[in-house]
Structure formats: structure tokens, C-alpha cells
Symmetry: C2
Subunit: 369 residues, 2 copies
Amino acid sequence: MKLATYRDGSRDGQLVVVSRDLALAHYATGIADRLQQVLDDWSFLSPQLQDLYESLNQGKARHAFPFDPAQCMAPLPRAYQWADGSAYINHVELVRLARNAEVPANYYTEPLMYQGGSDDFLGPMDDVPVPSEDFGIDFEAEVAAVTGDVPMGSTPDQALDGIRLVMIANDVSLRNLIPDELAKSFGFFQSKPATAFGPVAVTLDELGDAWDKGRLHLTLQSTWNGRTVGMCDAGKEMTFHFGQLIAHICKTRNVRAGSIVGSGTVSNRATEVNGKKEWTKGYSCIAEKRAIETILDGKPSTAYMKFGDTIRIEMKGRDGQSVFGAIDQKMVALPAAGRARARSANAAATAGPGAPQPETQAPPPAGET
Amino acid sequence: MKLATYRDGSRDGQLVVVSRDLALAHYATGIADRLQQVLDDWSFLSPQLQDLYESLNQGKARHAFPFDPAQCMAPLPRAYQWADGSAYINHVELVRLARNAEVPANYYTEPLMYQGGSDDFLGPMDDVPVPSEDFGIDFEAEVAAVTGDVPMGSTPDQALDGIRLVMIANDVSLRNLIPDELAKSFGFFQSKPATAFGPVAVTLDELGDAWDKGRLHLTLQSTWNGRTVGMCDAGKEMTFHFGQLIAHICKTRNVRAGSIVGSGTVSNRATEVNGKKEWTKGYSCIAEKRAIETILDGKPSTAYMKFGDTIRIEMKGRDGQSVFGAIDQKMVALPAAGRARARSANAAATAGPGAPQPETQAPPPAGET
């Protein structure tokens, strides 16, 4: 089944079931209000949602309405965990080759992962507010899994059984802030603003054969300012599958329901064309394009994103239909976004004091960042 | 006021109001079931809880019962963010001096922070399950702030206004896993198992003058196996106050309600006694003790914790009363803890399929970790 979260002025939105073709939606009212509830009590609630999903696909759901991805928050608008891997070792190899650094041997045996912020995700069509273009704005097209409970010490195979849903993500990165943060070795922080997720989260049965033991064998398309720059195969070159990524977290702690685990930038190897390396699949983040340019020409020539730039990320099934709907976002300067957030907080405040609502605070001064 | 979360078999527990002297408690039923709800809608709900708190302190609350910290989960049993700083630069200086490494200049102007896992916190008296003693088990006694919404670009002063509650924490660390993780520069992951928090979270007015512009001027006591090893002043040597820590996160993203921000290990400078350096305040983590031993004797002599070891962390007010109640935990081997978790999941399952409950999975094999 396919699940989404509709904006309703609250922090967690309203759970909707979406038809397979993404044409229709139906509120899950009476079953569950929020996706986290479903993940907390999956065996009891998911069969009820599945029944509604089947009625919806058959055109028999009573209160169906046209599905509009612009009304979507992230399927989990906030989560208890966002752990992102760097599961395509080709991405690491390229970036390191560009700066003449070797890939440490243990990168091939143990996944590289970082803990991300999960309190404030972006919806698929939300603007991406950034304080300055000078931070080096980049997109990162990824696949992400949402888990149930996976106990400490689980094996990669056991961890695979804990996967409940799959999504696509735009793990926005601020490249020019990364070197200083990595130099401190405490991981990413300011260099990783809010992550965005695609409109719907889907169960594994929706993916059919394309899902094989923790790898999703479909093409992730990235379209930057209307130009397709990436058609990357998310499957066969994923060095560590999702079960391995989750088991990595589980080594010393439990992974609890609603945890989101990312694949890292989807990345494919070069092919030899007339004796020369060509990256025919394109790229899922600009940093990788710049790494390739540096390898070929000694320096990068593609600039990072500017305010007003758009990025569209989508994945189609073997039937050519969009599986998750599209992430389609615009990069914007922070002050504008700050004003938008303040407006939406004010709007929510009119709903009455008892309604869950964002707290209102003045937007920060433009010069503050 | 003082707030705690009682275990009830659900993932988020039941919110209780606790009297100032920690003697009595009262369910917050009718106001809010869970602490996150209160943080989501602070201006509406906190005055109602404050009224109940005052009745409780005056002995007028109708259904008060004796407060038992053994029934407590963490005040937020899971949270949307756990961001931990290293705000006491003395700690960083000691650890670096022990390995003859300089402290980079920007460590004095910009806080060092890492993003922690927040999906599975431990209660104040929960055992700490660790797969192996060889991982180098250490406690870290800290102070932590819980925030409301703090928008991107907020200044440290604005961020101070976003603090709703203060807690104490045991940020358990697995020291022998840290070097490899830091070498990868993606931050801590396996080296930071579940963090534990003290029984109650308190509002700033409870702290009186001891809370001064984002610093808590009280003594954090650490007692290891019944022996007091740390009596550290959490206030004046906190290099970066909580407003600065929160503003650091806010540089490129919003901090949303219910985010927990940690101080890092509380640490005090040595004093000169007869011309020699003496660390009279003791230590809030064993790694620091070992650093001091290395500086003085060329090598560490204090071993990390063993299974069965206990750690008690507490902070007393100027009136000598415990402010937050005590963290009092035992380190245990994972298989035993795994069995305990499976039992508690089975117990919850008897509550009926509709009740929120942990999903049941077999404990992992002992050899798996």
C-alpha cells in the first residue's frame, strides 16, 4: 500500500491512503490519524489500512478525493530517528579520487553512517530555505527505509524483516560547511539542513521483484532546473543493503519503530566507452559531478545550486508509473522562508488554543545568519 | 514545576506531575497524557500543569501518590532530537593534552556538537545493556535542556527563550569504539548506545538563581560503585551556554519542540595545590580520569566499567534537596537485557491488540554482537 501525510496545520498532519496510481487518496480516519501510530502498532493497524487501500484501488472507497502531492508533508513529518548511510561506495571512491585520497579498507566492509536531525522534515514540494548561497547548496537523491522495532544485536537478515516502508529522499547538503565539520570528526551538523521526503511511503509488496534483499532495483531520476542530470540504478551497486545499514545501528542499541534509514547518494560506476571512462548514468548530487570534473579536468566546473533553482527527484516502476510521487523543490533564501513559516504559525493559531500548533516566534533578523 | 513519565507498557508512558520535594506524584490525566504533547502546545498546557503542581505541593491534590523513580521512563522516552554538545572545553583540553594533541583555535569560539540517537532512551533506573565489556563502558554525567520551537537563524539570546525544561543525563559511551568512528569523521554511532535521563524534568523557575543565562550553577555528583568520584560545578566553566548550543543547531535549520540538547561531560579545571595541579572536583566520566592519569603518570590506571558496576548521578539544589532525582543504573551484558526486553514486550502484548505496544521479536543470539 501507499501512505502519505496531508498538511492540516498540526505538527504531524493527517494520514491518508493513496491509490497505486497516485490518482486518489482517502483519509485513514477511524484507523489511525498519524503514520507514527501505524508504525508503533503495525500488525494491528496495517491490515486495516491495506483493506482501505484495496477498496481505493478498486474505486470502491466512499470518500476518495484526487491526490495532490502539494498537500503533502513528509510521510513522517518528524521522526524519532534519521540515520543516513553512504551505501554506494562508488560515491565515496569518486569524491576521494578527486582529492587524491585513498578509500580506507574498512569502508568496504563496514558502512559509513551519520545520525541526522529528524525533528523538522520537509514535504516533497516544500521550499528549501537556506541562509546563504555561499554555503554550497546541493541535493542528494536517496532511497530510505522506515523500520519497525529491530532489537540490539540483530543480524542484517533479521534487520531486513524490520523494514516496513520505503521512501525517496532529498538529503539537502551544504557542501561548503562540510570540510570544517568533518575536520572536527563529530559528524555533520550545520552542513545538513532539513531533509525532504517523497509524497508517499510504500510497503515492500508494492515494489515486487524490484525489491531484492534490501536493495531497490529501480532508476532514481534527478532533474535539476528541468534538465535530467541523473538516471541512476539504485540497486546493483548499493554496496551495503538496507539490512546491513540497520544492523550497523543495532550493534549497540535498539532501533525503534519509525526510524528512517537512508541509503546515501545513489551512485553508479563509470563505463568504458572507446577506452575512456564515461559516467553515463549521470549523478544524484552535484558534489559527485564536481568530483568527476576534477578527475577529468583537474577542477570542478559545475557550480552548486542558486536560490530559485529547482530539483525534482522521482523513481518509476518497471511499468513506467511513478512509485513514490516526485520530490519537487525550490531553493530559497532564509528570510522569505522565515516569513512563510511565521505566517503558517499565525494561521494555525486561529484554530484555537487546544489544537496542536507550531509555537509562534518572530522570524529571525536577516543578518543574523 | 517538575514533570516525569511513568511506565505503563506504552512507548511514551504517562505524564505525571511531581512535587518539589520529589515525595508525591499525580497523573496529569485530563491535561495531557505525554510530555511531548505539552511541549507541542506549551502555552496552553503548561499553566494547567503548573496549577496541579501547586496543589500537589500544598498537599491539596486529590489523587496524589508516593513518587517512585523506579517507575520512571526518561521524561521523554523517545524524542525527535538529541543533540549533544561538548560545552566544557576543559574536558576537551584534558583529553587532548593526554595524547599530546593541540586544541584547535575554533574550539574556543564554536561549540563541538554531535547528533545522537533519540528513538530509545533509558529511564533513570534502567539497566544499561552493552554487548561486551571490551567496548570500554563509560558514563558521562551531563545537564540537558529541552526546547520549544526555535526558528532557524535564532541568536543565542533568542535560543535561551526557547528552553522549556532542564534534565540530567547519563550519555553512556563505549570508549574503545570511539577512535575508529572518529577516524571516519562521520561522528559517533555505535560508540553511543542509549542515553539515560534523570527522573524529572524541571522548569527554569525551579532553579532560581542557580540558572543564569543558560548555565546551571549547581554541583553534579557522580558516584561509581558507591564511591563519589565527581562533585563538578556545572556552571561557571561551561564554555558555551545552552543558548549558544541551541543557536549552533539553528544556523541552518529549525529546532522543533521537544528537542533535547546536552551539555557534554561536566568538567572543571585543576587548581594549584602546593605548586602542583590537582583536580579536586573529581570527574564526570572515566575517560577524563584516565586522561589525568596519563598526564600525571604517562598511562591510565583506572579501568572502564564492568558488568555489575553501578553509576549514580544527582544534582542537589542550594537547599540540599535533590533537584532532578537520581540516575542510578547498572551496566549489564546484552543477552540478559535482551531477555528482559522480550519479557516486557510479551507483558505489553496481553494488554490487547489496540494498545500501543512494543513489537515482539526474538532476542538476538548472544554471539551475534
